[in-house]
Each structure stands twice: as C-alpha cells, then as structure tokens.
Subunit: 305 residues, 2 copies
Amino acid sequence: MILTVTLNTALDITYRVRGLRPHASHRVSEVTERPGGKGLNVARVLAALGHEVTVTGFTGGSTGRSVQEQLARAHGVVDALVPVGGPTRRTIAVVDERTGDTTQLNEPGPTVTPAEWAAFQEVYEDLLPSMSAVALCGSLPPGVPVGAYAGLVRTAKAAGVPVLLDTSGEPLRRGVAARPDLIKPNAEELAELTGSHEPLRATQDARRRGARAVVTSLGRDGLLAVTPEGRWRATPPTHIHGNPTGAGDSAVAGLLSGLVEHLPWPDRLSRAVALSAATVRAPAAGEFDRAVYEELLTPVSVTAA
Amino acid sequence: MILTVTLNTALDITYRVRGLRPHASHRVSEVTERPGGKGLNVARVLAALGHEVTVTGFTGGSTGRSVQEQLARAHGVVDALVPVGGPTRRTIAVVDERTGDTTQLNEPGPTVTPAEWAAFQEVYEDLLPSMSAVALCGSLPPGVPVGAYAGLVRTAKAAGVPVLLDTSGEPLRRGVAARPDLIKPNAEELAELTGSHEPLRATQDARRRGARAVVTSLGRDGLLAVTPEGRWRATPPTHIHGNPTGAGDSAVAGLLSGLVEHLPWPDRLSRAVALSAATVRAPAAGEFDRAVYEELLTPVSVTAA
C-alpha cells in the first residue's frame, strides 16, 4: 500500500466556454468535476498502474463531500481524509473552446486549526506502519505551519517508510533539510531552492541540502536524476503536444511505483517520462493515455548525466 | 404566505481577484456563496420586508445541498424545493478588485426528467391553496418544456392565486398568452416579446398579448406600468450608482408585497423603485440597503403615463 498526502485537496472544476472575455457574461457549455490536488492525482495514476493507494489530507464542506463521493467510485483508492470545519477549495479551469487556452481561478482553501492539524498528524502516524512508501504533495492550506512537511518527512523516516516530497518555496526548503528520500522539483522550483538556473548544478545542490535523490523535471526535455546510485537524463523520444497539467503528478506516480517495485533507476525514469508524456496527451490531470504510455516506455532514452 | 418558483435555482459564487487576465492563473482572495436564481432573490427581499415566503423549484447534488443549508439559516423562508438527480448549477461572478468590473460564468443547470417535472407540478399544485400570491421567476433548466410557465400560470389562476411572471424569450411569450396577472419585463425582454423599442407602445402591446398588468423596468429611469386601473411612470429621485444585479428581483418583491397588501398602484410602484435602487447600492443580489430604501420611498415620483 502506498500513501499520498494532499493537505490542500481540491474539487477541480473544468468549464468550457466559447471565447472568454473579461467583464462579459458567459454560458458554460460543459462542466466536469474531479477530485484534485497533487496527491489525489498521483493516487489516481498509481491506482491505474495497479497499485493499492491510501489518500489522506483534509476534507470539508460540500466540496469536500463531492471529492469523497468521487473517490469512493475510484477503484483501488482508500479514503483516509481528515475532516476540517472549512470547505475544501475549488479550482476552476476555464477552457476557451476557440483557442484551447485555459484561465485558472484557484480558491485559497480552508484555514486549518491547530486541533485539526494535530488530528491529521495522528492519522498520518497511524497509517504509516502499513505503507511501503509515502508521497507528500502540493501546497499548504492556510493555518498549516510552514515546517509541516519537514515534520512529516521525519515521522516517515522514523517509521522506516521511504518518503517523496513534491512541493515548492519555503515548505520545500524546510522539507529538504529533513532529508527526504526523493524530491521532484521542476526547473523553476529548483532555481528558487538553490538560486541556480543550471539544471545539473542545481540538482546536485539540492542533494547537498538533504534529499537522498533529486529528480528534476525539465518539462518537454524529460527528467534529470541525481541519486546515490548514479546520475541520469531521461528524454522522451518525441515532443508531445497537449495539456501539461498533471504531467508532474504522473512523473511522481511513476517514480513512486518504481521505488516500491524495486526497479533500477533507469527503469523508474523511463516509466516516469512515459507517464508524463501520456498525461500531456490526456484531457485531465490524474489521467493518462495508456496507449501512448505503452508506446513510449521503450523508446525513452536514459543516458548517464 | 407568498410562493416564489425558481426552476433553475443556483449556487451564486462570487470571487474577488486582482486583475482578471485570460489564460493566466489567479489566486482568489475572497469567496462568498449564496442561494441564487431570481425567485430565491425575490424571496429573500420579501422575507426582509416581513413577509412569510415559501420557495419551490429544483435542487440537486452537493450544490443543491449548499443552497438548502443556507436557506435553512434564512429567517422567514420555507424550503419546498423538489429534488432532482442532476446538480444545481453554479454561477460564478469574478469581481476584478482593480476595476470593480464583473465577469460572469453561468453553468447550464441540471437536465430535468419528465418524472421530475411531473413531481414538481404536483408539489406546486399542493402548495397553491395556502398562498396569497405566486411569482414565477427566471430561465428554464434543460428538460423543462418551453410552455412550462404557461401551464403554471393556468394552474395558479384555476386556484384563484394572483400570479406574477418574470422570464424572457419564448417561455415569456407562451406564459403571457396564459394571462398572468402581472409581468415585469425589462426594455430588452419587452422588445423581444413585442418587436417594439418604444416603451409605452411595447408595454401596451404586452398587455394586449394577455397580461392583466405590465410593469416595464427602464433601468435607471425607473418603471412604467400599464394596468387596468391606470398608467404610471415611477422615477427614482436621483441616479444611484452601484451593481444592478438583483435590482429587477427586488422590484418583483416590491410589486408582489404591494399586491398582497392591497396597496394602490402608485404605492406599489414607489416601493418597487425604492427597493431596486436600494439593491443597486447593496453588495449582492437579494440584498438591499434598508436606509437607502427608506430614504427613497417618499421622493420616488409617480406620475400618470
């Protein structure tokens, strides 16, 4: 069983409109809703790969109920979300049918009280012993201390559970210092952490700050991994066009599944790159085009970096 | 007790953002939610005026539950909404903090099945005998027949309950032919119905099509009434600046309360104009600034038209 943590879960809503114009009124032609937040997207991909996954984090209000109702219908995902008084945030992606471009509106999320944060930590500690790995994903909602991920990394390590951290800014900086097994920043998050825009140098620097392994996402150019077992660059065979939302979450799912299956690093990286590319081709975050995934798995190029 | 019907109820959500730009990502700084749809706005104003009100129409999904939870906290409003399988629509008003301008995104609403429509008609018929007046408000959700309001007008008249119709397009055209006691079109709805852009001529024409009385909303210029008792023009003493959303719903509440209180037409019209103006000054539809309302009630000018 794999655990994913999403402290700022979301109800992801997608609207299709014909030409978004500020200060005008728009009829939405199509509405889709799905559980969101990075950890829930990772869980959905892991479940699709055949892994058993438990999700935790916070849920509240009628939006939280919608998230949980949809999770209950997802195969292979166990709901261990912790209730909070405030409502789970909505994110609204307004897709312009004419251009395909997306305008994003993100609610801030509920303010988590100290008692709710304490209740979460207890649930987390109780879940860990039965987990083969844990992923800590995404931003922190208001009220959760900025050092939250550092504490959760330490708890996982004390329980002997490998821990992946995928966040940004100060929560990443503090989390890295707690020595997670793996971080997966993108180039921008890495530059913010290390001050360097040179990917290899910055990735090595991030390792020195405490992460056992660092896999940097270079967008279309694939992944760059610096690990105790070696350094690799994994590149997709072709540039895939589509919607990059969720590609990073699919990479996390690829790395995490490879970790619990004890795959060699090059195989973990090919899987992560092929899953990312297959997600760019799929319509929604947390989904991937299985045919594209299987087609790309072998031709991903993995070379020593 | 007054009945308001809102077939396409809504959860009205307002987002405040700093500068809406298409194809960018925005952090929402403030989220407010309230029950919406014209009939629910009318009910809220009637309740604030001290009337007992029952609301009916459709409710479904987690958005419908949110609407009902908030209605339960509103004083003087009885919830007689009828459950449907699909979710109640959301409307999202994105207010740009810099300019004060609003961008509107409206979901279409649930598709109502024939069985659900039949269930509603039964509830409506059961409610009518205890009502002193009924208002039929707003657009029709998908699945409800275009002649729906015509049928509901006939049922109200058969039960001897005065009926106000506030809608547009083909549902208004068919509804007027069923001879409602009062319609309250705005200039645009009236022009669509009659083909005339000359307010007095168009208002008279609308009466000939079947409405016992027609009160046309002329926006900032107030109301024009053509009734069996006479013709009047009611004008606010000053131009009020603010958000016109909901001003029409407040006018409906003013007219309806005046009807059940058996006020003379000029008093009904002053009340409707003062309430409209007080709503333009208030932050949300279905609310009004009581001080503005009381201040404007006397100086509204009502003259023979």
